[in-house]
Structures are given as C-alpha cells and as structure tokens.
C-alpha cells in the first residue's frame, strides 16, 4: 500500500528537512533495509540493522561518510572485494583525507590519538573554564531578558570551548568564527551537486599547520601540543599532514552538531509539560534529558557507508559497491527497539544509553563526551540565572503550533534559530 505513495527525495526535499521523522516512518514499512527509488542506494531504518552496519568496518568502508550516498561511484566496481579500488579513488571523495572517512590501520592509528583527547580527567580539568565562560555569556543575555540561542550563545560557546581546549590563540578565534559562519552547511540540500563545501576547512587547516609546527618546537599543555608530540601505537610519528587534517576536523566537527543539540534540547525543556521545573529541582536529571534528546532529535540524522565486500545486513544481501544510508534518526525511533512510544519523550527511558545519536563502532563520535559536557554546563548556567525560560511566541508561534526553520542539511538536524524569553532569577 505504502509503495503507492511517491517516494520523496531525502537529499533535496524541503518537507523532509522540516520533518525527517515523517519521511522515515513513510519508509519504515518497506522494511528495515530498503532500496531507494530516488537514488541507487540502500536506506537502513532499523536499529539492529544500523548497529550491524556500524559495527562491521571490515565489510563497510566509511569513505562516503561525508560525501553521502547520493552520488554514483566514481568507478565501476569489479568483483566481490573492491577495497583496493576504493583506496585508488579515495581522492575523488569529499573529506577522503579526514578521519571520519578512514578505514583500517590508518583509522586505528588516528583513533589512538583521538582517544586521548576528551578523557574524563581532561574534561574535568576544563570544567572551570567551561563554566566561567558560560556564566559570562548567559548573564549578558539574561540581563536583556531574551536571546537567540543558536547564534548568540550556542555557536560562539562551542567554538570558544574547543578553541581553548586545543590551544588556538585568542586573537585568531574570531577569524575562525567568521569563516565558519560564512561557509555553507555540510550536506546542503540546496546544492545537490556539491553539498559539502570545504573552503572553511581548508582555511582553518592552514592555521592548524602553523600551530602544530610551533607546538612541536615548544609544547604547552593544550591538545595541539599533545598532538604535535604524539606517537602511533607502533611508536612511529604521524606525518604533519595527518595531524593538520585531524586537528582541523576536530575543530570543525563539533561546531554545528553541539550547538544544535543545545537548541534541540531547549525545545523539549520548554515545551514538555513540567520538564523545566523537574530539571531545575533535580539537576542530576540533565544527563537523562540529553540522552533522550539525542535519541529523539540527535543533531546528526544519518551517516553513510559503502560495502567494499559482498556482505549482508540482516537477511538482505549487499553486493560490494552498494552505498548505504545509515539513518541514525530512524534507528533511534525504531519501535522494534524502543517500543510503541518510540516517538514520545520519556525521561529515563530504559536502555537509553544505547541510542546511536553519536553513531556506534569504530567511528563513534569522538567529541561525544565534550558535547555532553558543553550542553549540560549551559543548562546548569541557564537554570542558575533564570526563574523561567520561554520560547518566543512572536518568533515561533504559540505552544502546540510552533514554527521553526531548520538548517538546510541532509546530515545535520537542527534549528537555524531559536528565540527565547528569559526571566531573570529573583
């Protein structure tokens, strides 16, 4: 029956952008793994099936994780194992020189460096700075009684936090901010031929190269120094070019996603009946809020994989060369995994930590601990400084009939802006 409905284009349709969840529910009856009509690729909406793909880096390459599954392969796949062909064509892929697209040993090596970056002890050491900076930003807007959360708070905040952790000199930070603000989103639905523009990334890479050389000569206590002096597990030293790529990606990857998570979560805090009060009274619930929002409105809707060997997903046969949309947002609402109330907000949902809002397996988001800490710090600061937070009805309509604009991306799920009214603490 559902087959009769004309399939919408996940990569370009503006209605899908407004409500990707409705699109995924339209597609779910076609099975947890289905072939799209609009593009030559598979769409995986089932939770178990998404986890299966993400945990199988042997058969599934990450080469197209940034480029997406919307484009045909730049070569003709030959045989049951196309791993060598993939590597020969790596330079044709957007982001093919970034950690998120790496496979095998090259990825394991970089991942070993990453795993030192946001350890609990490092985040704890950075807590005071994160808190102080949040206080400063929030007290300014509370004094005014209102703010636009995404541009005035969330984005500059996450930029400042990662810049500070990495050790980006204070005088360069505003240059980066401007450059990032200029660039288009990743995975733009409005530019189907070239959805991901790397100009801001290349710009930042130049600076990172300079910093890394400076820190190698004179290390400090920051992440860039740590990278500049790190070794791979086998004791060899990474090339400068690998370090530049990693530092740049770390800086860029956490900008939009973390900022959007704060805004996505704020919607629930304000509009779920009783939730704001409950969280104000018991701050220990904030981590549960974040996990449930990451499940329901995680800021990455999907990632992509490319089968490099003949393989399977569940019972579905998948030949080498097949591209796969791993629909994180659909898996996170799969009723087979989460029950019939999968679309509802439920604090402390059983098994919530297993959502795949940060992905799973070898490429699991490296910045997840930082993202969680940033957003939790912001909520604590807002709750300390205000008695009540409201969503501006003049900008977004009344409760129950809110209107939001979303970043036009097939990767990111998040609002372009969120206007709030803030009642200062008495």
């Amino acid at each position: 029956m559902n087959q009769a409905i004309k399939e919408r284009d996940y990569f370009t349709d503006h209605d899908v952008l407004l409500d990707p969840y409705a699109y995924f529910e339209e597609m779910r009856p076609r099975g947890p793994v289905c072939q799209l009509e609009t593009h030559d690729c598979l769409l995986v909406t089932g939770f178990d099936e998404c986890v299966e793909v993400l945990r199988n880096p042997t058969d599934f390459s990450s080469l197209n994780s940034l480029a997406s599954s919307a484009f045909p392969l730049p070569f003709t796949p030959e045989g049951s194992d196309i791993s060598a062909q993939l590597e020969q064509n790596r330079d044709k892929y957007i982001g093919g020189d970034m950690v998120v697209t790496y496979d095998d040993t090259r990825h394991t090596n970089i991942r070993a460096l990453i795993s030192l970056m946001f350890t609990p002890s490092r985040l704890k050491a950075n807590e005071a700075f994160m808190r102080e900076y949040a206080e400063k930003m929030v007290s300014d807007v509370v004094a005014r009684g209102r703010c636009e959360l995404v541009h005035e708070i969330a984005t500059p905040y996450v930029t400042m936090v990662i810049a500070d952790l990495m050790g980006v000199p204070a005088e360069d930070r505003s240059v980066f901010e401007e450059k990032i603000a200029e660039g288009q989103t990743v995975g733009s639905i409005d530019d189907p031929d070239s959805p991901t523009d790397m100009s801001a990334v290349l710009f930042i890479a130049e600076y990172m190269g300079r910093y890394l050389q400076e820190r190698a000569a004179k290390p400090g206590a920051d992440l860039l120094s740590e990278l500049a002096t790190a070794s791979y597990p086998d004791g060899t030293k990474p090339d400068l070019i690998e370090l530049i790529s990693l530092a740049t990606f770390m800086f860029a990857a956490g900008q939009d996603t973390s900022a959007k998570l704060l805004a996505n979560a704020m919607r629930y805090v304000v509009d779920e009946p009783g939730l704001q009060q409950q969280l104000r009274e018991d701050r220990k619930l904030i981590p549960f809020l974040l996990e449930e929002v990451l499940r329901l409105e995680g800021s990455s809707k999907a990632t992509h994989r490319l089968a490099r060997r003949d393989t399977t997903i569940g019972d579905t046969k998948v030949p080498a060369g097949t591209q796969v949309i791993v629909a994180l947002a659909a898996a996170n609402r799969d009723p087979r995994r989460w029950g019939e109330d999968a679309n509802e907000f439920k604090l402390k949902r059983p098994g919530i930590k297993q959502h795949i809002g940060f992905g799973r397996g070898s490429h699991t988001c490296a910045g997840a601990p930082l993202a969680r800490a940033e957003v939790a710090t912001m909520f604590n600061t807002f709750f300390d400084r205000t008695d009540n937070i409201e969503i501006s009805a003049s900008h977004h309509g009344a409760k129950g009939a809110r209107r939001y604009e979303f970043e036009p991306s097939f990767i990111i799920r998040g609002m372009d802006n969120l206007h709030l009214e803030l009642q200062a603490k008495n």
Binding site: T108, N109, S115, F118, T119, P120, K353, T364, A366
Partner: protein, 105 residues
C-alpha cells in the same frame, strides 16, 4: 599468528587473531561479539567494554590510568581482574591472553 581466547557473557568461547596496534575492544567487536557494547567507541568514558583478564596474565598488561580506575569502580561487576578493553593495545607479546566479557551494568 598470535591470538586471544575469548569467552562471552553466555559462555561461548572463541579464538581470535591479534592485529598488533588494535585495541582489545576492537579485536573483540570486529570478531562480531555483540555483547561487548563499547558505546563510547574507545574514549574511556562509558565502561561498556568491561572485561575480565585471566589473573595470571594481568601483569603483562599496561597499567590502569585514573580514568579507567574510576570508571571501573562504578561498575556493579568490578573484580580484581577487571579492565576496560578499549584501553589495552594488542601486540604479539599478548599471545594466549584469556579474556572474558563482563556482564553489562
């Protein structure tokens, strides 16, 4: 080739080849053992890659850092031979390591 002996939470046993440089967590998940959740992907922040190491072989492993100790101390299933498998790098010298996946908290 050097290998480890793994027992999963249901008592199933397997012999898995070691790829030097990979973490023990990767060694186990790449072999398809789903009951090692490894939710944080090796960032030492979830403790869902908890394993027990054969007592006699513990000394062959790298020391625990504070983060690993702290995370393990929060587990209901912590034992003297507990480790987080994402914090252990494999090498041929670990040939014959006996590892059991700990129950999930």
């Amino acid at each position: 080739m050097a290998h480890i002996y793994l027992t999963d939470t249901e008592g199933r046993e397997a012999t898995i080849d070691i790829i030097a440089g990979n973490s023990l967590m990767q060694t186990i998940t790449d072999a398809g053992f789903d009951d090692l959740l490894a939710i944080c992907g090796g960032m030492c922040s979830c403790a869902t890659c908890h394993v027990y190491i054969d007592e006699g072989q513990l000394a062959q492993l790298s020391q625990m850092n504070e983060d690993e100790q702290e995370l393990l101390s929060l587990s209901d299933y912590q034992q003297d031979n507990s480790r987080l498998s994402c914090q252990l790098r494999m090498s041929d010298a670990l040939d014959g390591l006996r590892v059991t996946i700990a129950p999930a908290d």
